[in-house]
Amino acid sequence: MPVDIDIAKVAKLARIALTDDELDQYGHQLEDILEHAERVQALPTEGIEPTSHPMPMVNGFRRDEVGECLDPDSFLSQAPDTRDGQFRVPRILGE
């Protein structure tokens, strides 16, 4: 069964700016991979619980205690653009 993917929509959702040629190429590759992956759909899985964790553990909490924070210089110095101790990004809404 051929898989039909709206690759432009997927790329936008993933926030990756691709040219039309790239979209085309990735679209075909994904369709190939998904056709292969579709075999999993043939397996009878009624009543089978999904496994999302390899180990059957629960909670994994920590106590409500305050620990050390990072020195802001240690990460702001790594940022592409900062101003007054804050990260800076271009305008959020379009024209």
Binding site: R62, R63, D64, V66, G67, F87
Partner: protein, 484 residues
Amino acid sequence: MKPGWEAVIGVETHVELSTRSKMFCRCPVDVDAAPNTACCPVCLALPGALPVPNEQAIEDIVKIGLALDCAINERSLFYRKNYFYPDLPKNYQISQYTFPVCEHGSIEIEAEDGPVTVGITRVHMEEDTGKSTHVGDGGGRIHDADHTLLDFNRAGVPLVEIVTEPDLRTPEQARAYGSELQRIVLALGVSDAKLEAGSMRFDVNVSVRRTGDPEFGTRTETKNVNSLRSLQRVVAFEIDRQVELIEAGGSVTQETRHWNEETAQTAAMRSKEESEDYRYFQDPDLLPLEVSEPWRDAILASLPELPADRRARYVEAGADAAAAELLADSRGLSSRFEEAVAAGANARTVAIWLTGDVVAHLRRIDGDIDATVLSGDHLAELSAMVEAGELSSSAAKDVLTATIDGEGSPRDIAEAKDLMQVSDVGEIEVAVDAVLAANADAVAKIADGDMKPMGFLIGQVMRETGGKADPKVVQQLVRAKTQG
């Protein structure tokens, strides 16, 4: 609301918990710290960092769920809600989807048109985003900004989302719901629930339909409403707008809107080009949450008295409903009320004093009750003096304000100001006899069955005693001596 129309309203409320540390890391919950000084690899979403959930936050959400009469799911799951936004460091929010911690609750509210039961669909755990400051000509508005600054101190602060069923029908009910929810959260001590500071905020869904129509209309969602007054106004505005739109032959668009306080209007947010697809999936970094029965029971046993129960108890004690609500809403008033009643005061009298004279006086002096010396024992002493006829109720009010002002105990003040009533019959009798002797005409009229001068005589006695005679005793004596 326009006759023939009905509104259907649901509210989603976000409450920031006041835990010591954030939801998934050990940074302090301190949104007012200098920008980006309460951050670590986890809440900045540095490569490789992992979340570890805060046990206290889970306990707090269970408290909220229990207070809202919810079923607590023994097993619940964290999901990732995926969307890109610069204030969301991981570009996904850890939230819940299927299997939230709490579901199927309800809350009773008292609106002007009577009590309403509001269903609670779910209460789930999530994390807050960072804070954006939009810089540009628009004075901080995103629309005119040319760039935005990001502070991640708030990122990862535990956030509880409380979602109602579409059970509310009027703007007043919506406000009453918001107000009761805020009271509950405050009573539980899990959040400071400050609407103006954003630690509690509402998203409100409104649709309208013709009365009797079983179908819901198309709804709009107005986001980040940050006062009870605005909550009411948003709903009222949306109802009017939607009814007008439909009556003019138009139709409501399902959209997200925002409330502009200055124009008192909602407006559509600039719509995103694609519809949101959050690609929810169970967060593989986090294990399933298990709230065992013993844990849940221990939390239940630790719950404080809820506001509705407290109000009922105050009414039971003798306060009227309005005073009971005011008292229950204030820690300072309610603690004094309870102390006074425990010390034997008349609950009705003390409730009226606290919610009337005390509040008024505090407003005048711009003071806080906890900054004054006024205690429950003071109120009990004052109440006992009035009950015993030692102080008139009007003198009691003067004594009360003087007590608040720190002039001493009620009895000391009453004595110092010479406000104690004369209740001694012998002493009053002397004055009565003198007045009757001086007003033989009036006495004669009464003897003939004309009762009109009675008030005049009582007034004369009061004047004679400098206003300190107990009016009840005076009245009894005058009556006995003129009619006897």
